[in-house]
């Protein structure tokens, strides 16, 4: 007979204000097998844990039920408590009477009854628990960083600094990401290239870092400490090892009409190109959609002109397979498409641009070499109007429901830079709210107003239309209670940002969870903000939520610290709740192996005694406990009921259900 202890937590008033915790403890005490039942204000506190430890020793408990918050929150805590008192950690069951009870009910009587039922159910399961022990698995001492923007770069540098090898996989031909496109950065106005390119060079020179540009993650298998990843290195038709980045080929290429992505399509580039002067690697790439040689076999000029014979029109995509202990997702963002916001005239008028386009127009390395001119006629704009929240905070279905967080600050930056460089230019900013939390941020914004005389108009723009060569920006001025029309030469839209479109595919591959806006979900919003709930997957930068450069770099370094902590271990404790097959029932049908996402199931031929001295050779499933993650897919698929999950056996689950249904 088991000796069970029940511990009911108040969670301050979180549980106790809706659930009569004393009654729950009292009623559960009467359950068969329960020898002690206690309640306490904070069971997770040191005193609470001491109460549990003492009870285990004093009453020689064989198992405990803690009625408290979600097991996601404190199961690990209470398992450690039990272990320190000499109890097997898998002899602990959590009844979630907070998230699944007190927080969602109002009526005390009902909530108390439900808490009792949840407690009974946990007791019923515990009675069938068996002590489990975890195996161990080795850790591959190498990290993969997906995405080569500032987030990925910072994470990679920090991990490499600690002595571990890192691969950066980047889809575009160079690392640098969106930050490489920026002109100046807030709140200190230093040039983005000046602070980013040294980091890019550091990556290239660090012997621990391997940069795989123009590459995509193709598949991910395995689990924390032991990921097996296939990477597709797309054919760039240029031998990376031979190319010196001299740029001769770019001069000679006759097909010059490709849109220059790096300059946000504001000018053109040849079919063979290096994205920008500081690109890492400084190696050319051929756009196969644009190259005359690759399209119809007629040209080959670049190959003729290349002094080092780096051009290879026959290059094919290559698949590389590598193993990693940890994966950092740093896939970043892009501005949203503005097709739902034609009231601002982005599709109709050339001189309505996005803020990222303005960055290029102001950048010394941009299409106008830093001379701010409007795209239509290359004239200097004399009146510039900014519109904030274009697609942010939009629940109408046209945009994104969230605040993009970076726009208020970069718009203040743009306004200030323009007024500084072109003092004759009038600058207006339409805003809903100016949001500037952050060190020296509000001061920065106020400088734009007070020192540089930027005109901030509280209200939104309703329409932008063209009249006599001017862009008429019609909007509300809510402070003056009037409708204003500002004839402008250039209109700049602070377009909302969204996670890079590749993130869904990546999230599926690494089984990381994602929210309704395609941002990756963190393991805990406050306490584990840089980890995915999936072990071994870490989140760096905007893929987790909108953030600016300082915040991104902080998060990237935090993420690296977590990765280093993992890679520093030689062995990882495996999950003890693993599947196992009852060989007497298994028919060797292979269904379980087909659904296993971790490749943990193999088949062995085993000899079985049939009686009368006869034996039979049968094919049966065998689970590798070091690989199994305990997801349970095999147990529900198995047609003969041979597969079961330790700690969550069919018998245990049925006992829980029975306890709930029993009145």
């Amino acid at each position: 007979m088991q000796r069970i202890g029940v511990f009911v937590c108040w969670c301050g008033s979180n549980i106790a204000s809706t659930v009569d915790v004393k009654k729950v403890a009292e009623v559960l005490k009467a359950e068969p097998g329960v020898v002690i039942s206690e309640n306490y204000q904070y069971m997770c506190s040191e005193n609470g844990q001491a109460l549990i430890r003492n009870a285990i020793k004093e009453h020689s408990l064989t198992g405990i039920v803690v009625c408290s918050c979600s097991p996601r929150m404190h199961e690990a805590t209470f398992r450690r408590t039990a272990e320190s008192a000499g109890l097997n950690p898998y002899m602990v069951e959590i009844a979630n009477i907070r998230e699944q009870c007190s927080w969602i009910h109002k009526d005390m009587e009902e909530a108390t009854e439900k808490a009792i039922i949840l407690g009974r159910s946990a007791i019923a399961k515990l009675k069938l628990n068996a002590p489990l022990t975890s195996g161990e698995s080795a850790v591959v001492k190498r990290a993969l960083v997906i995405g080569g923007g500032i987030a990925g770069i910072q994470s990679a540098l920090d991990i490499a600094e600690a002595g571990f090898e890192v691969d950066i996989v980047e889809t575009s031909p160079t690392i640098g990401g969106n930050m490489a496109k920026l002109d100046k950065t807030f709140p200190t106005l230093d040039c983005a290239a000046c602070i980013l390119t040294p980091k890019m060079v550091d990556c290239a020179q660090n012997e621990k870092i391997d940069i795989l540009t123009y590459s995509e993650v193709e598949s991910v298998k395995g689990f924390v400490g032991n990921f097996k990843v296939q990477i597709r290195k797309k054919a760039r038709f240029v031998d990376e090892k031979k190319c010196t980045g001299c740029g001769e080929c770019m001069q000679k290429c006759p097909s010059k009409k490709g849109l220059n992505d790096f300059n946000m399509g504001l000018n053109t580039r040849p079919a063979i190109y290096i994205p920008f002067a500081q690109a890492i690697p400084n190696v050319a790439v051929i756009d196969p959609e644009q190259c005359l040689k690759l399209k119809n076999g007629k040209c080959g000029l670049c190959a003729m002109k290349c002094n080092v014979n780096a051009i290879d029109y026959t290059q094919k995509d290559e698949i590389i397979e590598r193993e990693y202990g940890a994966i950092v997702v740093a896939t970043g963002y892009k501005p949203i498409s503005l097709e739902n916001f034609n009231e601002y005239g982005y599709s109709q008028y050339k001189d309505v641009v996005t803020s990222l386009e303005l960055e290029r127009l102001m950048n010394a390395a941009g299409p106008s070499e830093g001379h701010l001119v409007r795209p239509s006629d290359h004239k200097e704009p004399k009146v510039i109007t900014f519109i904030q929240c274009v697609g942010s905070r939009d629940t109408s279905g046209c945009g994104k429901p969230y605040c993009s967080k970076i726009c208020c600050m970069y718009t203040a930056k743009h306004a200030m830079l323009i007024r500084e460089k072109y003092p004759d230019t009038e600058v207006h900013v339409f805003y809903i709210d100016v949001r500037t939390p952050g060190k020296n941020y509000d001061e920065f914004f106020r400088r734009a107003v007070e020192q540089y005389g930027v005109d901030y108009v509280k209200g939104m723009v309703g329409k932008v239309y063209e009249e006599n060569g001017k862009l008429m920006v019609q909007g509300a001025d809510l402070i003056n209670n009037e409708q204003v029309v500002i004839p402008s030469d250039l209109v700049v839209l602070a377009a909302a940002i969204e996670p890079s479109p590749t993130v869904r595919k990546i999230a599926t591959m690494v089984t990381a969870s994602i929210d309704t806006n395609n941002f990756l979900t963190e393991a805990h919003a406050k306490l584990r903000p840089v980890e995915s709930p999936t072990a071994g997957i870490f989140l760096s930068g905007v893929c987790q939520g909108p953030k600016d450069i300082p915040e991104t770099v902080s998060q990237a370094s935090a993420c690296a610290a977590k990765v280093i902590g993992l890679l520093a271990k030689d062995k990882l404790k495996c999950n003890a709740s693993v599947a196992h097959s009852d060989e007497t029932l298994c028919s060797g049908c292979s269904v379980c192996a087909n659904v296993c996402p971790y490749g943990a199931i193999t088949y062995v031929d085993k000899e079985f005694r049939l009686g009368g001295g006869k034996t039979e050779l049968r094919r049966v499933a065998s689970v590798n406990p070091a690989v199994c993650q305990g997801c349970g897919a095999c147990t529900v698929t198995c047609p003969s009921g041979a597969m079961d999950l330790k700690g969550f056996t069919t018998g245990q689950i049925m006992a829980e259900v029975d306890a709930i249904c029993k009145r």
Binding site: C398, I432, M460, K463, L478
Partner: protein, 128 residues
């Protein structure tokens, strides 16, 4: 009638949730009749939420709103200011003696070319 009841009725009739408004003013930024209004489109949403119905019942905007739905179209929060204006107008004209058009006066208001559709609209909008 009780003011609170009136506010509740107007809200129900409008079918729009004024609490969703984030006070960005885009409706008023877009409105083609803004300068003809004493109470502005965004204020209709604000006043109805605050329960200040008198300002709305007496507003001249009820008769200068063009019913063009520009405010409805552009609201980033799915609020429909035009629906509130319409609901308030209904609240006014549904009271006996509050019809804004007298049939006998119509001949002097119109000319030969006026489409009858306009007359029907006028009666539907201003009379009950």
């Amino acid at each position: 009638m009780d003011k609170l009841e009136q506010v509740k009725l107007v809200k129900e009739r409008s079918g729009t949730d004024a609490r969703k408004c984030m006070k960005c003013g885009k409706c008023s930024g877009r409105c083609p009749a803004y300068n003809e209004m004493d109470v502005k489109p965004h204020q209709f949403v604000s006043y109805i939420e605050k329960g200040d119905i008198d300002k709305l019942l007496n507003s001249k905007s009820l008769y200068t709103c063009l019913s063009c739905f520009a405010c409805v179209e552009r609201c980033p929060r799915g609020v429909a200011p035009a629906n509130v204006i319409e609901a308030v107008r209904q609240e006014v004209i549904r009271v006996q003696g509050e019809n804004k058009i007298q049939a006998e006066k119509v001949p002097e208001m119109i000319d030969e070319t006026i489409p009858q559709q306009l007359l029907v609209s006028m009666f539907r909008k201003l009379n009950k």
